[in-house]
Symmetry: C2
Subunit: 276 residues, 2 copies
Amino acid sequence: MARDFCPGYPAPFDALVADYPGEDVYPLKDFRVEWGPIFHRGRLDGSAKVLLLGQDPATHESISRRILVGEAGQRAQGLLAKIGIESSYVMVNTFLYSVFGQGGGNRHAKDEDIAKYRNRWLDTLLVGTDVTAVIVLGSLSKTAFSMWAETQPEAAARLHQAPIKHPTFPESASASGSTTLAQATADLHQNWNEALPGLVAHVTPDVPANPTPYSGTWLPGDLVRIPDGDLPAGSPGWWCDLDAWAQRPSGLGPQIKRATITVTVPTAARTWPPLG
Amino acid sequence: MARDFCPGYPAPFDALVADYPGEDVYPLKDFRVEWGPIFHRGRLDGSAKVLLLGQDPATHESISRRILVGEAGQRAQGLLAKIGIESSYVMVNTFLYSVFGQGGGNRHAKDEDIAKYRNRWLDTLLVGTDVTAVIVLGSLSKTAFSMWAETQPEAAARLHQAPIKHPTFPESASASGSTTLAQATADLHQNWNEALPGLVAHVTPDVPANPTPYSGTWLPGDLVRIPDGDLPAGSPGWWCDLDAWAQRPSGLGPQIKRATITVTVPTAARTWPPLG
């Protein structure tokens, strides 16, 4: 079987991934540094036309070692599909490590030490490249992008900027009790719909764009499978699929929860003969 | 922090990892195809002087996406250390996928379809390269190597061949009840000790060899940590460590067991502040 795969980190990214900040910069109190940094997803060969700036990796990302692979990533992939971008994108996060606990992300939103390494990635991806637009997911990422833009005003001025709500805004907003999941989903869709025309106007698509507005509820096709070519060689196909496959255990206490990720082949991918 | 990482699959290996056999060649009844193929560990840049031919990947390997990372790999790494090889090695397995169930490996030991792809790797790694010796771990690997050697008799004749007991022979032999763990460990050590002089004589070491014989029981230093440079960029340090960190759940039935791997940060690596 032939399957695309992510070739990893060519120069100059090889030097970046060999020299990343650890717990001296990302405190263990606020970040799950123990799971290692997760750097990117998408093209590092100069073919990217759009950059997505996300927030922080979660459980699926800690196993697949690429960012925006779970639910948030599949919603983002669907947004790219609407603007005709199938492969010419690259994604990096505001934080290399998963945020731990309440407020950890906000406490480090303007952290200059964290920005220093992040800006090396953004410089490499955005200064003198073919990227024409930046999709900024959520408020922490907006702050991160602004911090970079201050250091590279000319490069930033050439980019179309689309700061939008984070793909998991419906879940996070409704969890706080201030709105319902349905209302927050409708809000997210309205917000993303407003960004579509600008993105279509400022991005040369891979295939003709089809910016049908979001409906207010998630429809089939709004979430798009992660392309095989975004994950490392040999990654199981279900790592790209829409079904969730990684979770932290509940009910065993906070110590075990932080220490553990359970990886489960989704039911649809359990194609082996019946067992016992 | 600076940390080495495995750069992945340069040409001609990029074509090999993009075109691997799936369940048409490896039946789901006998192999855990659902976890994806796991190809190698070590140098693919032509610097390898020794090739290790292992058997099949297990739980740790299914997460780290490199072979011989768990207990067996750390014992093999220790053997390489004794012959002065710290980095100039490459490892591939007899099977791309983890063997499932009793007898699955034996049933496919002489499988020509499986050999076809495996031999492409062995051709690339052994014909016209700087590899001078092959360490063959266990009987299935010995069969696999013989199948390759028949197709490349001249290249095989130039190689020093060290067929030795598999690193987890003590556990597998004693599990069958025919011997004790202690006796099987002593047997393994005697077997490996017999191979040391030939390997020292036929391998140009990275550092001076120190082939102190194994004692009959595992001593500190017999197991060696997996080098950072063997795992993908950003892999957590504890993926290289001696403490086990991946397991299949027991007590939940064979279906869940096959579908699940639980990844747990070892106690020594839980350096975060105390949690609730």
